[in-house]
Subunit: 486 residues, 2 copies
Amino acid sequence: MQDLELLSKVFEILKSEKVFDSSSEDIIFPFKDPDSLKSILNLELSNGSPKLNSSTQEDVLRKIVRYSIKTAHPNYHNEMYAGPDWLGLAASWATDALNACQFTYEAAPVFSLVESFTLEYFLKLCGFDGGEGVFSPGGSMTNMYAIAMARHKLVPGIKRHGMYGQQKLIVFTSEDSHYSVTKSVNWLGLGEENVLKIKTDDTSRIDTVELEAAVVASIAEGSKPLVVSVTAGTTVFGAFDDLNRVADICQQHGIWLHVDASWGGAAIFSERHKPLLAGLERADSVSLCPQKMLGAPLQCAMFLMKHSGLLVGCNASCAEYLFQIDKYYDISYDTGDMSVQCSRKIDSFKLWFMLKARGSNWFGASVDNAMSCAAYFHAAIATNIFFKPVRSEYQFTNVCFWFIPKRLQLSSPAEETKEWWAEVYKVTLALKEKMVKKGSLMVSYSSYPQKNLGNFFRLVVKCVPEPTIARMDFVISEMIALGYDM
Amino acid sequence: MQDLELLSKVFEILKSEKVFDSSSEDIIFPFKDPDSLKSILNLELSNGSPKLNSSTQEDVLRKIVRYSIKTAHPNYHNEMYAGPDWLGLAASWATDALNACQFTYEAAPVFSLVESFTLEYFLKLCGFDGGEGVFSPGGSMTNMYAIAMARHKLVPGIKRHGMYGQQKLIVFTSEDSHYSVTKSVNWLGLGEENVLKIKTDDTSRIDTVELEAAVVASIAEGSKPLVVSVTAGTTVFGAFDDLNRVADICQQHGIWLHVDASWGGAAIFSERHKPLLAGLERADSVSLCPQKMLGAPLQCAMFLMKHSGLLVGCNASCAEYLFQIDKYYDISYDTGDMSVQCSRKIDSFKLWFMLKARGSNWFGASVDNAMSCAAYFHAAIATNIFFKPVRSEYQFTNVCFWFIPKRLQLSSPAEETKEWWAEVYKVTLALKEKMVKKGSLMVSYSSYPQKNLGNFFRLVVKCVPEPTIARMDFVISEMIALGYDM
């Protein structure tokens, strides 16, 4: 078949475009502004068929790849994911080609077993005795699952009757938590004003005294605390809320404890860094996103909880035309009705395959290495006059800092005027733009309005592609080279 | 890198396992019950690392593929998707390898443009003048989007205050619609009892007289009609609701009209069959799933609506740390905050690439071919004594029928006793099991409790892999061969 010709060439096309093995000498991608890129790509479609022959098909694909960001480039540090684990990608290509769907044992026998096995494996890792879970498209959806499940457990009648006339349900989270908590509350009909964002301390951990006070106050006001959604690895600073302390509060007041471990959950594989997650086993539910630090190809995220039967209890619509009960095999593997989706992409196999091929020790060692690289980077910039760390300590692999060009370097912090800060914030933007347009280095930037901090850089070190001291050093030298005179 | 070795072999492994080009002589997959399959696959994980070398990696991958269903097999007719379009798959492999994420122009410049271009293309196809949309993981999520958007437009204050104390909001849909309407209503906090399932006529189209009566009655009861969610191509019978008639009702009462065209939306490419969607341009929103009939690799689904600004209005959380407004490019391509998700897989590029490579005429011709094959099959079984069609007419490519083995063939319909029907229903199950266990043919089955119809077969003809008359004939001859003596 002619169509297979292109497919047989994909690996070579990607290889020749340096998707797999770009080096520090290559650019990450050629930046173009939207209008220029549009005219380069020629996105317009026409009716005629067949439109492209196998040679022009290849040209189009190659151009798309060429102008895309090579996330596996050694100097790509822009997001909480980067280039994928290549073994995970091999697994992903296989499931894509099989075009199977996570739904029933009939529709995908192998992948039904793989998903259920993988979920059980991670339930155990979390210290849950039993329980259940579901792969979902991204961390935000898993956080929405948590609130939906907690609501169904607390007031099962809402499924039938809706939120009308209910006692107000309150979701507690920290001001540093991911915005998906608020987005979820909005969709679920709970109202954004019923998300109470608790202040964090100087290390971005939730203030548990204020949390407990807020819980008590909301009960006194006649509301019903629904969920405390804490974070294990916040987006900006990588902070881990004190799970045990929060679990005490939740236990005392009978509140569902959800841990959004989308970013920091990877620590579960490391004997050394697992204490960051101490108390996880006391949670009602957990979000894990192996698509972030562990490098599972996008998308790969899990919602896990220690309760059984709630997924069906909350989500089942019992559509008899799809979920027949009179089947020729054990229907306990027909998990479609446990999900709020119908057909789901196979997200479990790549993760299982990575674990099978590498062994779980490999993941622990990778997390340890990422932590070491982040610690090295933080120590290095702390004593470098071109850098000013935002925090003096970090709990995870996030390192936030400002770049200080020559002209803004001060002899004493006392000289840090408002005008000086305004200049530093401008430098962040200008240097970011310069790095992207040169294509040599990508590091994200962020602001932190909670403490009135303007734009700073945020480097997040991931396990894949494998970080090294040399890569950390490059960030420092390249930023100085580009920003020295700014 | 050793990891790339496996990746470079994936195409050949899949090819040798006949994922791409199995013929009618090959089995679709070797059926095993869950316990046997578990012991064959050896899913257990261990700690040691590295666990597998490149040769055993290949063995594991090969075994997973071997026991998986080959959805591109010519006799696989089990689901509303089948083997993927191979050009779409090539595009999918490329985006997987790039591991990009639909979020901001910064994170994925090329794919931000591709998504926005593709959405605009489909908005125009639907006859929407302007509007906006978003790729979402599957049809169910797009239906949830529709209800969430309609709610935000009708009562924007719910975002802030929740559903408490609101006037009851009613969702109208037909009893033949997809169960995701109910699932969505549950999650959104509207209450399943506030989904009014309107009866369908003998062709499975929504009864518009009853719909209008229900709307009027709900207003009289003090409720507020929120959405009428109709279906263009129902799951079981492929029925198309009368969009123009329903649009009249919605217009008169100021109700959001959503069209779930997840299955039937493919007709939009066919000049000949487009009239099935007459009135689509009058809808407020539409769900399209090119992952179904058109063969775009899973997952590929779009929510489209004719209103602009509502996605941000409803979904934005304005997380300043993620969506900076002081960027070095035009931030109108930063669509992350329009979605209820955060990071999203790149689902648009494979569809755009299929359109680019094939031209849209190809899609029209494919739909016409699928319709012809379905019509041929229906005509063939209507006159064959081994088959009894459930309906005498079909609007789309769904053909539902019972298989009648020799011993149950009657000389007159008058002889169809209750006992006879019970036997026919049993034959459906027994024949299904026989087909699967032989591995020669997969056709799904369904029941239809609304009209008290027991298990029947449902063949759904898709565009990819290309259906032919020979493939239709095989279904007939194989079922007779296996079921003759049942």
